[in-house]
Amino acid sequence: MTRFILRRLFTALVTLIISSFLVCMLIHLIPGDPVAMMMAQNSAPSPEQLAAMRHMLGLDLPLWQQYFHYMGRLLTGDLGRSIFGSEPVLTLLMERLPNTFALAFAGLAIAVGFGMPLGFFAAYHRGSWADSALMVFAVAGVSLPNFWLGLMLVLLFSMTLGWLPVAGEDWRSMVLPAMTLGVTYMAIIARMTRSAMIEVLGEDFIRTARAKGLPEGIVLFRHALRPAMISVVTIIGVVFGYLMGGAVVVENVFSWNGLGRLAIQAISYRDYPLIQGFILLFATIIVVMSVLLDVAYAWLDPRISVQ
């Protein structure tokens, strides 16, 4: 088990190093002179200003040195300064991180909290009208553009019914964005859970459990649930990543003051250090999350935890 975790941490580290490398190189994707593009917001930067900026970003170094330069700064927690606000990127990101986390976890709670039971229910009543209805709902949920769903929820709950605020900072204002996020991923999780559960219910060992004369409750909850959970847990990792991506979009629908809104502002101001920091932060979150889920997976599956 410890060896498994150690190995997992090692691959996570490799992942982060590769990500940081890619992020560092992203700046070279910019067509033309990146520094000129960045400074284009100011009125006609002087060559000295350009050179100073270039030096600040380390772009005057050879490519490989640029990376070490970048990495060296990363290790001290320095993600550079926002070009526009000239505040440290890290500070800016950390200010917004709690908001995004709150939103994403609320969305994940909705998605998992409703999606898994619904999927289990549908699998157990496979072929019934309830199953069909749930699966139609699931395909619809997967197909809903979350930004549009957000607008529709605003129309319904805020403007027509007047129950919930459109924007704000308290928990009531989080209900709609969290629902928006949750519904789409709830559908995905319900579908996945259903197919995982259907597969497990078709396994030989479920037949064995029934042949032992165990009541259906024990068959389902002791014998079927855990193996099904194992495959669901693996996809929750991927779903969480996608949910964070969805949060970026949804934040902009609801003017939620999180990383997503910050990112879009950064992009429109061509604030490249901020964008780089944003991507790197997301990569870290996703990698950490996937390590946690793998550990959960190993804990659930004795084939990994027992050697």
């Binding site: 060896r3 150690l6 190995r7 090692f10």
Partner: protein, 336 residues
């Protein structure tokens, strides 16, 4: 009369598989799936290859068919080293030797019609084309007992026995001298097996084919084979004329294996027979001694330190056991 040159020769063939190395682990010793196997198969002869799962018989087949390379040793088909063929010689080699696979459901491409499957080898080898190809395919189909009307169907429209007939026709399409058959009937219904076994026997007679017949079912091996080789953990422990080996096994493993075979008639039931204890280990970390020693009821100190080399017994067979002469005979009834 001079003995004809062997059709197939295996000369000390071994295959090692590297163990997957974990990131922080030490490199593990490779697994010897096949260990120094040597035998010859003469023209028109069937060599039966018997062994339990994991004994290396399928890996051996793959090496003979050039699907994987031996780590050491050579396979010679009609006197030519298979691992040293020039690209231009490969097709000619493939015309010498063909294979029948175990699972007729998976070994036929589901999206190709039966007729095209049988005709494909002839097309590849440029043996026939157009109308001639058609007639030859129908001809071959008839030889294995399929009607020409069935050739336009896809594999899933055939029964298991018919599929294996398609596979046999496909193997025969290039008129090979040798056919390696890896468990060709184990996926078939009992009542259909005899059809395929008889077909194989008939084809051997009419075409002078050599067979390497691989099976875990000793009855089927006994039916088709002239000689039998028994494998345990990658090595041949006993090889010789089928009747001798199966009636009076000299290697303790062969004997226990034969004793484990369910009797063919309830009258032959022997209660409390000697059961081969334990299970086949996974082949990792074979010690210095005889590979069968840990499970062998006859094992002595010598067996645990010195690996036996195959030696001639009774003039007709080779046995890899220090105490082959001491192996007790099979109980009456089993050996008929």
């Amino acid at each position: 009369m001079n003995a004809p040159a062997p059709a197939l020769i295996l000369d000390a063939v071994s295959k090692e598989f590297a163990q997957r190395r974990s990131l922080f682990g030490r490199p593990a010793a490779p697994v010897r799936a096949v260990d120094t196997v040597s035998f010859v198969v003469n023209p028109g002869e069937t060599l039966g290859l018997v062994g339990e799962s994991g004994c290396g018989k399928s890996t051996l087949a793959r090496m003979i068919l050039r699907m994987t390379r031996p780590t050491t040793g050579h396979v010679l088909v009609e006197g030519k080293r298979v691992d040293a063929l020039l690209p231009s010689e490969v097709l000619a080699y493939r015309r010498q030797i063909q294979m029948i696979f175990q699972d007729p459901y998976a070994s036929l491409n589901p999206r190709i019609r039966a007729g095209d499957l049988i005709g494909e080898p002839m097309a590849i080898h440029g043996l026939a084309r157009g109308a001639e190809l058609e007639t030859r395919v129908a001809d071959l189909a008839a030889q294995v007992g399929l009607s020409a009307a069935m050739l336009g169907r896809y594999p899933h429209e055939f029964s298991g026995g018919q599929r294996q007939r398609i596979a046999i026709a496909r193997a025969l399409a290039v008129s090979p001298r040798i056919i390696v058959a890896d468990e060709p009937v184990s996926a078939l219904d009992v009542s259909v097996r005899a059809q395929v076994l008889n077909l194989m026997a008939d084809l051997q007679t009419s075409r002078g084919l050599s067979y390497v017949f691989i099976s875990h079912d000793i009855g089927t091996v006994a039916y088709l084979s002239h000689r039998v080789a028994v494998m345990y953990l990658g090595a041949i422990v006993e090889i010789g004329p089928a009747r001798d080996v199966l009636r009076r096994p000299r290697h303790p493993y062969t004997r226990l294996l034969l004793e484990a075979v369910p009797v063919a008639h309830p009258r032959l039931r022997v209660r409390r027979r000697e059961v081969l204890p334990g299970e086949v280990p996974n082949g990792v970390g074979l010690g210095a001694g005889c590979r069968f020693a840990p499970r062998c009821p006859m094992a002595q100190e010598r067996c645990r330190v010195e690996a036996p080399t195959p030696r001639a017994i009774d003039g007709t067979r080779l046995v890899a056991c220090h105490f082959a002469e001491d192996t007790p005979d099979l109980p009456k009834g089993l050996a008929a």
